[in-house]
């Protein structure tokens, strides 16, 4: 029964395919899987928008949406209908073709990333040998769509927003890749399915997730920072800083194209969270060996939900960074820590079992964390802020 529940979606798919002739089964199977992914994540997106608006509302001591449906839970329906029926305005001087293509390319490349994410036991669309590489290749393609949107709008705010977004994404992509390389080094594979399997054993009822090692923990922190910046989320949401740039690269988009940008951004958050939980938090594994009776897909989506909550929490808590702070942080703190972490991971691998490697690796990382942090802060003077008003 437990086994059956764990594999329920896989079994359902096989049952459906059983009614089809042999030659149709592979293509139709792929189409069913793709349709599930493309249907599921926008649905999650709708749920999460309410959660975010409600959650940020709570943090800011207001109510949030509460008019549509009980407790405002039907708000996404209203938003969807609104964006579908709104007029689609394209500026006269805009580059029509590029302006039209940008949101489509963004959504397509974002959804491609899900092809290699294992969402449960045996629940992966393509188990690619180079899965992680595929994921990052698709992630790199989204930058181009952001640029296309900003440039084609022929609006200085859009272009500035796009330039900021692309500069930020390039900077933090380096950190994102380097923090994931550690996992590849330890697993010896780029396949995400193999990475989950490598973490899939327990001792004393506790899992062997990569986050529970000094290098894994450091890499996870770096990954979380870089992932937040990569998805343009607060506190790294300079590209759409509304006090400076109206709405950044999607200023000139309205109606459903704007909704597509919004969707792309959220689905990218799901995707980055999914990859993060696959790499560091054991993917679809249960956090305790006694909890393995709960189906694997519940754990995957549970981890996704928790990381979305953390994203919302961060947005409600942290102030936005300044551009120079953003770049300094990426190149002078996150990047050196990631590079050092590669060495620490290699050291961990060659020191063999025992307690010594825990002490040595943790000590190196903690010392580096504090010394790089101190060095970065040394020349900055913090004191009470002085305000000058125009007289």
């Amino acid at each position: 029964m437990i086994e059956r529940l764990d594999q329920i979606f896989v079994l359902l798919k096989h049952w459906l395919l059983g009614y089809l002739p042999e030659s149709w089964q592979t293509p139709v199977g792929v189409i069913i899987s793709v349709a599930c992914i493309v249907g599921l994540y926008p649905a999650l997106f709708a749920v999460t928008t309410v959660l975010e608006r409600k959650g940020v509302g709570r943090i800011q001591n207001r109510l949030g949406p509460n008019r549509v449906g009980p407790y405002g839970i039907l708000q996404p329906m209203a938003d969807g209908i609104k964006s579908l029926t709104k007029e689609d305005i394209v500026p006269t001087s805009a580059d029509a073709v590029v302006h039209f293509l940008a949101p489509i390319i963004l959504v397509v490349t974002v959804f491609m990333g899900f092809a290699v994410l294992p969402m449960g036991r045996n629940m992966v669309l393509v188990d690619m040998d180079a899965g992680l590489l595929f994921y990052f290749a698709m992630g790199a393609s989204t930058e181009l769509s952001v640029f296309m949107a900003g440039w084609s709008s022929r609006n200085k705010y859009s272009l500035l927003g796009a330039m900021r977004a692309v500069a930020q994404m390039i900077s933090y992509e380096v950190a994102l890749l380097l923090s994931s390389v550690v996992i590849v080094m330890m697993t010896g594979s780029l396949s995400l399915v193999k990475i989950v399997e490598a973490q899939n054993h327990y001792s004393y009822g506790l899992p062997h997730w990569y986050i529970f090692t000094p290098w894994g923990f450091a890499a996870f922190i770096m990954y979380a920072i870089a992932g937040t910046a990569e998805t343009n989320r607060s506190p790294f949401d300079l590209p759409e800083g509304e006090s400076e740039l109206v709405a950044g690269y999607h200023t000139e988009y309205s109606g459903f194209k704007f909704a597509l940008f919004f969707l792309g951004e959220y689905v990218a958050m799901f995707s980055i969270s999914g990859l993060g939980s696959t790499l560091f938090l054991g993917g679809w594994m249960a956090p305790l060996s006694g909890l393995q009776f709960i189906p694997s897909w519940i754990w995957f989506f549970g981890k996704l939900f928790v990381s979305m909550c953390v994203f919302i929490w961060l947005r409600g808590t942290l102030p936005r960074l300044r551009q120079d702070q953003l770049m300094n942080f990426a190149w002078k703190f996150v990047l050196p820590m990631c590079l050092l972490n590669l060495f620490v991971a290699a050291l961990w691998r060659f020191m063999g079992d025992g307690w010594l490697r825990w002490i040595v690796c943790s000590a190196i990382l903690i010392v580096a964390y504090f010394s790089i942090g101190r060095e970065g802060m040394r020349r900055k003077h913090f004191g009470p802020r002085s305000y000058r008003y125009a007289a």
């Binding site: 290749a137 181009l144 594979s189």
Partner: protein
């Protein structure tokens, strides 16, 4: 091979031609991206996953962005009123044809000397990693040193500029 090969080839050749012929520089850069992408698809069609994804990651993710940035930062994005062809296009064409002929000749000459393998060699990403870390570790390290030197050079050039502008 079959029809998929021709579709992908048409895609990448079309992109490359558009990159040369379009008047707007940003459009040309975006068309070049299409050509890069088509090339990546060709690699994937040959079961070379690593080469294909590295092509997308490096060319679409980094080189295309760099090209676009360079265009925007150098005021070159306005469409020129007269044609985009320079006066010496005939010489350029001759040189390009010569280079293409030399490369094609080299490839044609090399083809018979390869062992005629019946089975497609199954090279996984794992094999590439092992080869890079054992047999080809010296070239890899040399490239790493070269790239680091280039990176430092770029930073120094940028820093120099900043100091000069502060003085002036």
């Amino acid at each position: 091979m079959g029809s998929v090969f021709y579709v992908i080839s048409a895609f990448s050749v079309g992109g490359a031609l558009a990159a040369v012929l379009l008047k707007n520089l940003v459009h040309a850069a975006l068309a070049l991206t299409i050509a890069f992408f088509g090339l990546a698809l060709l690699f994937l069609r040959l079961d070379a996953q690593f080469a294909g994804f590295a092509q997308i990651l490096v060319y679409v993710g980094a080189v295309a962005i760099l090209v676009v940035f360079a265009i925007l930062l150098t005021k070159g994005s306005e469409v020129p009123k007269e044609g985009v062809f320079s006066k010496s296009w005939l010489v350029g064409l001759a040189i390009a044809a010569g280079v293409f002929a030399a490369l094609a000749w080299a490839v044609m000459q090399a083809a018979p000397s390869l062992p005629n393998e019946a089975a497609v060699p199954a090279i996984t990403v794992n094999d590439i990693g092992n080869a890079l870390m054992s047999r080809y570790v010296l070239p890899l390290e040399i490239i790493a040193v070269l790239l680091t030197a280039a990176l430092l050079g770029a930073v120094i050039v940028a820093m120099h500029e900043k100091e000069r502008s502060r003085q002036g």
